[in-house]
């Protein structure tokens, strides 16, 4: 079980003019991912979803709040003491090309973490080779043909499978997949998504999926939770299917409306929400963070910030004063 409460991360950015500008990457985020569970962080680039994922994987620190892994709070520990906890959470990077060392064979790549694991758990050296073959089989690769190869001899999809296999070498409890399929050929993406889902079912690892493509979030399983993040704040949170089918926050609705419609196969939603584009970089920190782009904003939104809450008649949490269901997503013609 991995939980976070009020996680804040602020970057100091050197501005063009004198003085540093503070960029709030995360503004007090709560999350909870149960053992064997699944969650997705959805949002546009720069919304903080990747930062949050990296904090959860222990690759970045946070300024306020707390991250708790299996009951142990991370902020009280020294960096060395955190390592065994963060070992349980492995990151799958977006780019399978830079995630593997081009000068090392797949065998070498897997051997290093496995021999570390063998030492930690007191297993014999022979276990290393067995396990290397095993993790490759788990991700659907043929160990015999892959082990002796260099990354450049594998396709993007195969590399991403090797990356997942490498993460499995240290027996993780959770995989954090950051846009893990966006650089993979379209015809192969689903295979990787299915693999993550399959690993959840077979090994009981939980999966945190970070993406800007809402549709892929469905593939981690229907028991998963969806977090919609905008400018460092979770603006909507609930069961995957609920949030996708009945979003109430205008930002979630904008994201869903923006997904291309496969005309000929699908019929577009009747009430698409088109947000005002924020071409102006001087963003206001007053009131609702989405107010300036929101087509439905009211006076109250300018002065007061809505917090994540539950209101009557809405099954999911949301951060909007005026939650309203809108028919935004495209549906297959066969269903209409």
């Amino acid at each position: 079980m991995i939980t976070g409460t009020g996680v804040v991360k602020t970057y100091k950015q050197r501005g063009k003019m004198l003085g540093a500008r503070e960029v709030r990457a995360l503004r007090g985020v709560d999350f909870a991912i149960p053992k064997g569970g699944a969650a997705s962080f959805i949002g546009e680039s720069g919304c903080g979803k990747t930062t949050l994922g990296r904090i959860i994987a222990g690759l970045e620190t946070y300024d306020e709040g707390e991250v708790v892994i299996d009951g142990v709070a991370m902020s009280g520990l020294k960096p060395k003491e955190r390592q065994p906890h963060f070992r349980k959470i492995q990151m799958i990077h977006q780019d399978p090309y830079s995630a593997l060392n081009p000068t090392r064979t797949i065998h070498q790549t897997l051997h290093a973490p496995l021999s570390l694991r063998a030492r930690q758990t007191g297993r014999p050296r022979s276990w290393i080779e067995e396990r290397a073959a095993e993790v490759l089989s788990l991700v659907g690769l043929d160990p015999g043909s892959v082990l002796a190869r260099y990354p450049h001899q594998l396709s993007g999809g195969m590399r991403q499978r090797v990356v997942i296999a490498r993460a499995l070498t240290v027996d993780p409890e959770m995989l954090v997949a950051d846009e893990a399929v966006s650089m993979i050929d379209v015809s192969l993406r689903l295979g990787i998504l299915a693999l993550l889902k399959d690993l959840r079912e077979r090994l009981g690892v939980s999966v945190l999926f970070i993406t800007h493509d809402v549709a892929t979030a469905r593939y981690i399983g229907d028991d998963g939770e969806l977090y919609v993040i905008y400018r460092g704040q979770v603006v909507e949170r609930g069961a995957v299917d609920t949030v996708i089918a009945d979003p109430v926050h205008p930002y979630t609705q904008s994201l869903l409306s923006a997904i291309p419609v496969l005309h000929g196969l699908e019929q577009p939603g009747e009430q698409p929400v088109v947000p005002l584009e924020s071409l102006d970089e001087s963003r206001s920190d007053e009131g609702c963070l989405f107010a300036r782009r929101c087509p439905f904003r009211a006076d109250r939104c300018e002065g007061e910030r809505p917090l994540l809450q539950i209101t009557d008649g809405v099954p999911q949490e949301h951060a909007c004063f005026y939650p309203e269901r809108r028919n935004v997503i495209a549906r297959p013609l066969s269903e209409v």
Partner: protein, 299 residues
């Protein structure tokens, strides 16, 4: 490629593959082979060349400062010694000193650059300030000052001093490389997996920089040759053994090779040696990228 490689046989097989790959890369361009042959020639000359000549070299008082002839291919010096023999016997000091310079430059530069770039933070700041300070010390004047107290009679001493003076640039460059590499996914993944720092630096970072380091090493050799030849040419160091810089000094200042045609061979000898060595290195450097990159090595 389909066999499951294990344990020690893996590393032996990989080593074999590596050298087979090196051979493939070298064969790709004839110029690389020429460079490698030239370089082997210089190594042989430095190691065994002096053994072929008597010490001290015979002097022929009837043949002082002669132009090239069948008997003396590059002529003779002002004491009637054969220039070819001088170049060969003088190579040991020059090449050894240059090699020591290069090793020290690369080891210090890479070590400091790697450590600085990988640790970042306070260590980085301190080390880079030191590097900057070192870079601001002008090398040649310092050497001139040092030469008044130190005679550099042995090549190792010479190399040591030159090496200590020239690691700054490599350190800066390696640090920059490290900083960009450590952001790469595979380094981050290694940290996430909990692999040790020595593994990350030694097995992940260093091999990724191998072509770069090898290139720096080779170029540092030419740098080492130039600086010591320059020092001896300026005549600020008393010379106790033959070397190319001292030959140039005598050729120009004592025999007037710039105006006297008969001393031209005396001048050309060491110059030709330096030129060929530089050429050899330039030709071989071209292959480094392909040798250390598995993809380029195999294609």
């Amino acid at each position: 490629m389909t066999v499951l490689l294990e344990g020690s046989s893996t590393s032996a097989a990989m080593r074999r593959n590596f050298w087979a790959g090196v051979w493939r890369v070298m064969r790709r361009k004839p110029s690389r082979l020429v460079g490698a042959v030239l370089m082997a020639g210089f190594v042989f000359m430095g190691a065994f060349g002096p053994l072929f000549y008597p010490d001290p070299l015979p002097r022929d008082v009837n043949q002082l400062t002669r132009p090239p002839s069948w008997q003396h291919w590059l002529g003779t010096d002002d004491q009637g010694r054969d220039v070819v023999a001088l170049v060969v016997t003088g190579s040991r000091y020059v090449l050894l000193a240059a090699l020591v310079t290069a090793v020290i430059t690369v080891v210090l530069g890479t070590g400091i650059g790697l450590f600085s770039g990988f640790k970042r933070g306070r260590w980085d700041t301190v080390l880079m300030r030191i590097t900057d300070m070192k870079l601001t010390i002008p090398g040649l004047p310092l050497l001139l000052v040092l030469s008044t107290v130190w005679k550099f009679s042995s090549a190792v001493q010479m190399g040591l001093v030159l090496g200590l003076l020239s690691w700054g640039g490599v350190a800066r460059a390696v640090r920059a490389q490290t900083l960009s590499l450590r952001e790469r996914g595979f380094i981050e993944a290694a940290r996430g997996l909990g692999l040790s720092t020595s593994h990350i630096v030694g097995k992940e970072l260093l091999p990724s920089m191998a072509p770069y380091i090898a290139m720096n090493m080779l170029i540092a050799i030419t740098g080492g040759v130039y600086s010591q030849v320059g020092l001896f040419f300026l005549g600020v160091l008393p010379y106790e053994s033959n070397n190319w810089g001292q030959m140039l000094n005598t050729a120009v200042f004592r025999s007037g090779a710039l105006t006297v045609p008969s001393a031209l061979g005396f001048l050309i000898g060491p110059l030709l040696a330096i030129l060929l060595l530089t050429l050899a290195i330039v030709l071989v450097v071209d292959a480094m990228d392909e040798i250390f990159n598995p993809r380029l090595r195999e294609e």
